[in-house]
Symmetry: C2
Subunit: 473 residues, 2 copies
Amino acid sequence: MPVNRKGYRGRALDLLKNTGVNVGDTITVVCDNTEQTGIVMPRYEHANDDVHIVLKLKSGYNVGIIVDAIDRITTVDVADAVSVDPATPTPTPTPTTMTPEPAQTDAKQITTKKRILLLSTGGTIASRIDYRTGAVTPVLSADDLQEAVPELGMIADIDPKVVISEYSENIIPEHWLQLAQSILEHTDASTNQGARYAGVIVAHGTDTMHYTSAFLSFALAKYPIPIVLVGAQRSSDRASSDAATNLIGAARFITRHGGRGTYIVMHEDTSDDVVACHIGTRVRKNHTSRRDAFKTIGQAKPAFTISDDVITSNHPVAASSTSVSVTNTNTNTQETVGAIRFEPRVALDEKVALVKYHPGFGSDILEHIINTGYRAIILEGTGLGHVGRTAYTQIRRAVARGIFVGMTSQCIDGRVRMTVYESGRDLADMGVVPLNNMIPEVALVKAMWAAGNASDADGIKKIMLKNIASEMT
Amino acid sequence: MPVNRKGYRGRALDLLKNTGVNVGDTITVVCDNTEQTGIVMPRYEHANDDVHIVLKLKSGYNVGIIVDAIDRITTVDVADAVSVDPATPTPTPTPTTMTPEPAQTDAKQITTKKRILLLSTGGTIASRIDYRTGAVTPVLSADDLQEAVPELGMIADIDPKVVISEYSENIIPEHWLQLAQSILEHTDASTNQGARYAGVIVAHGTDTMHYTSAFLSFALAKYPIPIVLVGAQRSSDRASSDAATNLIGAARFITRHGGRGTYIVMHEDTSDDVVACHIGTRVRKNHTSRRDAFKTIGQAKPAFTISDDVITSNHPVAASSTSVSVTNTNTNTQETVGAIRFEPRVALDEKVALVKYHPGFGSDILEHIINTGYRAIILEGTGLGHVGRTAYTQIRRAVARGIFVGMTSQCIDGRVRMTVYESGRDLADMGVVPLNNMIPEVALVKAMWAAGNASDADGIKKIMLKNIASEMT
């Protein structure tokens, strides 16, 4: 058995050596008459910490245990290096502390283990915490990530690749194109019908993960294999990290459910028991720090919930997202495309502005947008889709200049309805296009994508009004 | 008894005449072997509808009943004109279909009925529906409103006044000043300690009601009597209008609870049983059409819930909002003001921009804002309070130019924390000020108010970081 005590030093390293324990082993530690059983994790911290060993518990939590407090260590199961190395698909014994995939109990099925492409883009999920300062920096590669979550290797063979290394606040639309191209190149699913991979996991920062999922939903609509974005609100090496649970949930969704569509998989609630799988165009980060920050908008539940190996479909919208028909945006015809056909449209034009209206909104900002080459404006109006009269002149001018103007609501939830009140009717008369219950951020991304696939405002309008990937429900 | 069949015509009018029923009477109507008991409501519709009579049920719902379907009408209680006319405060008999205010059962207490100032600004709550088209137009005055909800007169003596007649998407900051001045003038509470009125109800459109409540929270912080904004998602004359329930809830909150602070009272859920009373700086319109569209941010429950005559305080933040200390914004000193002292600061400067960052955000928009005299920028950053590197140059320039730059999160819920990630630390180093868990819209309004009360960015910063009206919790 190879020696692996990655990242350990000083007294913590001494303890592992003296007890013959390696990273990946499952051990039971007795401290203060309480037992904790978990997998020994590698250390990644910048801090010169030599007094803790880190265990990943069955709950998914990592705990740091002080060496001096340990009364006894018992090895429950010895790590099998093969289980974290997808290049050597030999059957591995099932560690007692992991929930086994039922398929694994049948030895013959090991050879049919599915393959998943794991693309890393950076973000907290691929970060390490500095325990001295609490600061987090992006340093984990896709390989490190896979090693940090050895359970992944039991669910599927994972091929890790690094595409980008950025926190998601620094992700720009160019990265979206890069990511879409990377998925197309590596999976080659347009010709092979996804035979090479069962699906793609994209490890992504959470700040703008829903913008990226919206873009992939449109650019790779009807892609033959599922694309699942996964983030973490706590870095992968940290106690209480949600990275492992979310990654495992994503892998299970791909191997057990599959189907077309782009999804985001994150914690369903503050427990570690259930992860949520959201439609990529119907989800939003609604809390700055909670592990269940991502919420499906307009439904009490996400499309799917994944609890251990049970995947529950919560509402019919999930089905429609896997079989919507699309517009041919090159010709702007409303042809109906069969359920199998996929045609990537990896293009965009960034010249789209998202404008949130409010009392005292300076219409000089709209004026600037009109005069500087923007091709579309997504209004975050008030209520059912309104802006005040003070912005009417600029909105008329925008439409006259051939700029697409679409209306969403800053309420976030609920439908835009521009027939009920005078303001809505006035705006509709001016040519403002109501975008139903499209989430403002999704409307922005869709408009960038539409502007990249159409030559004028009419073309953009046709694409905006067509339901491509369940963005309107 | 005076004849009042306001708005009725044709066969509906004939029926009322033949049965001797007037608007305001409580009647039981038998149709198809089912009984419905309610108060006969005046008609306001534009439609030439002469075949319905409208009853307000005990639930608060209005129902339209087709004249031809009515088998029998029994008068349960005859309207007493006095009960809806605050100028003649004679005791009125208690109609059997209304939940009586306990105080009303003691005849002597009638003479001590509290007074409420009802200010109307327009909005759905003061609107009529055209049943032919479903369109809603603003035509009800504050007097009409009071007449449409006769129960109000049983809770308090209502003095109605029209201040503005605008749907709230057309409310501009100048209206906020007008409204604050109107409250100061009519209640004169700064000298009389609120003796004249127990509180103020402001009937307001829902689209921007939370912006107005934020302004009043700051400009009239520590006002001796409660200011309660009330809206409706369905117009007052409409079946299923929420106007009556919300107005009655507001009046009950004022007469039974009182205390300082600006609040918003709206439906707590989709039932008509409970209304929510939200802190005016911690609330947001989160749905385009639901009657329970307004939600307290950062808490599962609003500050108070009002069910019939029971008022429940749900969390301690409510208490703090009635006794926070304020900064003297004229001198920018951090003096502690006693619980009683009130000093209005009815001023603002509109030159504040709300900027929502997103991937592909055009920093040319920030450039425009910097160059056109804006005094403050409220960023709606991503996650814990970030923007991408592509906006750094402009943010540095804004701070250098003496523009206050504050950070909130587009997640809406949760705290901004700019120490965890590199991006946050970079932005803090540039001088961007984290605004804790202030809601972006509230931060915008507060910055306008702060800019009206301070001469430079440092002065604005001091005000922004001081908790004035529970805007940070």
